[in-house]
């Protein structure tokens, strides 16, 4: 279980709390949607859950243990702009190898063609590159996947095909998913439950409402 307990975070001492005392639990195989107005800390929460940021207070635990400080992290984060998440001077093959030798069956499921592996990121389209990032994140040790606006810059056809694959993998591996998106219709199609994210100005604390 991915569990955030009384999580609090703010960027700098002078700034107001993005959220205070936030609790969230994601069980294996569960798909949780997250939406809300921009600038409220959805992406910040994702970065905290994946261990990119350290919470000011509270803790993030995976199966009862804190996130590892080094080595492979069981919580993987996917970004909106895949081109910013890869080394522009590496070929796709080296990008994939960052997470250990890629699984041939996984590459086939994601529709990654062998020819792409010899290309640099700028020679791949957004959809192709996002699939490379997905393959890199989906090693066998990954237990939870956080998708931060993963398909918002892709056309609907590519979007549908990527999500089909992710849903299949999530089902077969009992992978927990957090889907951050502005698209309510997309969340409705994908998620078991969704949390709406908003900030109460008076209390300056964010609430997560299960809907």
């Amino acid at each position: 279980m991915l569990e955030a307990t009384s999580l609090a975070y703010r960027y700098g001492k002078q700034r107001s709390w993005l959220f205070n005392d936030l609790n969230l639990r994601i069980t294996p195989g569960e798909i949780v949607g997250m939406s809300g107005p921009s600038g409220r800390g959805k992406s910040t929460l994702a970065k905290l859950l994946a261990g990119y940021l350290t919470p000011s207070r509270g803790s993030v635990m995976v199966d009862g243990r804190p996130l590892p400080g080094s080595g492979h992290c069981p919580v993987q984060l996917l970004f909106q702009h895949p081109e910013l998440a890869v080394n522009p001077r590496w070929k796709a093959r080296d990008i994939l190898a960052e997470a250990g030798p890629p699984d041939a069956a996984l590459l086939r499921d994601l529709g990654i063609e062998p020819a792409w592996l010899a290309r640099y990121p700028h020679e791949l389209s957004g959809g192709e590159l996002q699939r490379i990032c997905l393959a890199r994140a989906l090693t066998s040790r990954t237990r939870y996947l956080l998708c931060d606006e993963m398909t918002s810059m892709l056309d609907p056809l590519t979007q549908a095909s990527i999500w089909r694959t992710v849903l299949d993998i999530s089902r077969s591996r009992e992978l927990g998913l957090v889907v951050i998106s502005h698209d309510q219709a997309l969340l409705g199609k994908l998620c078991h439950r969704s949390v709406c994210y908003f900030q109460n100005d008076h209390l300056s604390s964010a609430c997560l409402l299960a809907t």
Binding site: G36, P37, G127, E128, M153, Q159, A160, S161, R164, A185
Partner: protein, 307 residues
């Protein structure tokens, strides 16, 4: 207002030593917009939607070669004429928020755009205040630098920059990406208002559903060419959409069946014939022989042998 016929864009680059290779990224593109119209341009990622906007402004890189006929207000749009028109009569809302000058306060940038578009020096401050107010940006935002803005605010500043002047044609390149539905709706509402005052708006977007709320016509791009021009009303159901790609795009929307009925288009055929027959489910012998021409069907246009 704007008519584009048979536009093609090619890029030349060096492959090895002095050997040059030419890649055709946009071919046979047709588009026309009337005053008072919002024309949405949707389609595959990487189909050349943003290239079109850049070609219309003449800001493509130097290794690009443009062919075809573009006319603006009935006259041929030559590079010389374009240089006098862009910024004053044709304005762009860029896709990337990095298009703001990072070292200049945003109020100054909007004021500069207003001055360049022909507003007199004395009216500039009031025009700028009004533009900021219209996009619900507080007065103090004028004195901020771009790094102090959130993604949504930066988008609104870019929109203000393009609409502050008296441009008759506004090219909006993904003006709503990364905005929540309410802010996105407002941003598009402003574009609709501008169109209602007799301007023409070219709205390049991925967000088909939000775009349909404000657009009159929709042009669908795929593989660097126009495959269909349809009325916004035609997107109510599958029955009125003529091209297989448009139908697949519509069906793949999360509000509809969310199933990719067509393979995502990653490769197109250069060998003559229909450029995306490799991905099409309805292809037969005719598709391999000749590239289909854009033909009139009802209110719209379609490029398919089987429509």
């Amino acid at each position: 207002m704007l008519a584009i016929q048979n536009l093609s864009i090619r890029f030349t680059h060096y492959t090895f030593g002095l050997k040059k290779k030419e890649v055709c990224v946009v071919r046979g593109l047709d588009l026309s917009i009337a005053p008072g119209q919002v024309m949405a341009v949707i389609g595959q990622s990487g189909a050349g939607k943003s290239l079109l906007a850049h070609a219309l402004l003449g800001i493509l890189p130097r290794n690009a070669r443009i062919e075809g006929k573009v006319s603006f207000k009935g006259q041929r749009l030559t590079p010389e004429r374009l240089a006098t028109l862009r910024g004053s009569q044709i304005a762009l809302i860029p896709q990337s928020v990095t298009s703001l000058n990072p070292l200049l306060r945003v109020g100054v940038q909007v004021a500069r755009a207003a001055r360049l578009s022909g507003i007199s020096q004395k009216d500039v401050p009031t025009t700028v205040h009004r533009a900021f107010a219209r996009y619900l940006l507080q007065k103090e935002v004028e004195t901020w630098f771009p790094f102090q803005l959130s993604g949504g605010m930066a988008r609104r500043v870019l929109t203000a920059t393009a609409t502050v002047g008296m441009a008759d044609l506004i090219l909006a390149d993904e003006p709503t990406s990364g905005l929540d539905p309410i802010t996105a709706g407002e941003a598009l509402g402003h574009l609709r208002e501008l169109a209602n005052t007799g301007k023409a708006v070219l709205l390049i977007t991925h967000d088909i559903e939000t775009a349909l709320q404000v657009a009159d016509m929709v042009t669908v791009f795929c593989a660097g060419t126009t495959v269909e021009v349809a009325r916004a009303e035609d997107f109510k159901g599958l029955g009125h959409l003529r091209h297989p790609y448009t139908r697949a795009l519509w069906a793949a929307l999360p509000t509809n069946s969310f199933i990719g009925t067509m393979k995502p288009i990653e490769r197109t055929s250069d060998t003559g014939g229909c450029p995306f027959r490799l991905c099409c489910n309805d292809q037969d012998a005719v598709c391999g022989q000749s590239a289909p021409e854009l033909k009139r069907t009802g209110e719209g246009w379609v490029r398919c042998h089987h429509a």
